[in-house]
Symmetry: C2
Subunit: 165 residues, 2 copies
């Protein structure tokens, strides 16, 4: 049970390591979202609006279904924030060409501006963390994070080195 040489229980080490992992995720997420939250508050928006703005900015012309699949919330929940964003001129909806039932989402110029403002802070935070950690650490980070994500959404992240190792 206990390593005779070091006097340290390897099972305890594993538990400590995994708890630290859990906490790293908690603290990182907490601090990562705090900055945008402050900006959003000035617009009378919240984190939910940020997510919509981010993903619509990332995938212009995406459908409501696409967005729901990413956010994993009900359409009633999405409806409120999306409605506000359309109402206030940050997002536009246009009818799909192939499938006229679909509403294709896009950011307006105003929406793009807010998206840039919000994402810029988060990009800067990652840029700093990446730079300080180095390229090798970044690759490790990506692998571990990908391992945390449910299989269904992993294909969203193309492998960097297809023929790695």
């Amino acid at each position: 049970m206990t390593d005779l040489k070091t006097g340290i229980n390897p099972l305890f080490l594993r538990d400590e390591e995994l708890r630290q992992a859990i906490e790293l995720l908690f603290f990182a997420y907490r601090d990562f979202t705090a900055e945008p939250d402050a900006i959003l508050a000035a617009y009378g928006f919240g984190r939910a609006h940020h997510r919509v703005i981010y993903f619509v900015g990332r995938h212009p012309g995406m459908t409501v279904s696409d967005l729901l699949a990413i956010l994993k919330i009900t359409k009633q929940s999405l409806s409120r924030v999306l409605g506000q964003l359309v109402e206030e001129g940050f997002v536009t909806q246009r009818t799909g060409a192939r499938d006229r039932r679909q509403r294709l989402l896009e950011l307006t110029e105003k929406g793009l501006e807010l998206e840039r403002q919000l994402t810029e802070r988060q990009r800067a935070r990652f840029a700093r963390a990446y730079r300080e950690a180095g390229a090798e650490a970044v690759e490790g980070f990506r692998q571990v994070m990908l391992g945390l994500i449910d299989d269904a959404d992993r294909p969203r992240f193309p492998t960097k080195n297809p023929g790695r190792r």
Copy 2:
């Protein structure tokens, strides 16, 4: 601006890389919290209760102030969930010995049991991700995550290799 050999704009690559980082964090957090949420619902609890149970389990005898500093919520917000947890016998409060104004928090046997049940799922998720990614990737993950966290809370994570490099 554009690399003549590859025809790829390095600024675009950087933007793409940083956006993927943002999304890795979003999807990982989303999926990481989904499992415990389902368990908590059976107890009539939510994510807020989980956080309290987790950190009290992690730091038995911690004060209310300590907990507030970690969660970064108001004491009124904490009050409700903590009150419920005490009421229903998952957490106990005892008066501090040195400072009798403090309420030292601890999990009851019942609380410990729930904590184990919740944390077990999250530990398993990280254990799998860590195992699949390998030791080197884990160290990279730790470095990047630490870089995302505000300076104030980094000392919570002791350096693994004090004399690294």
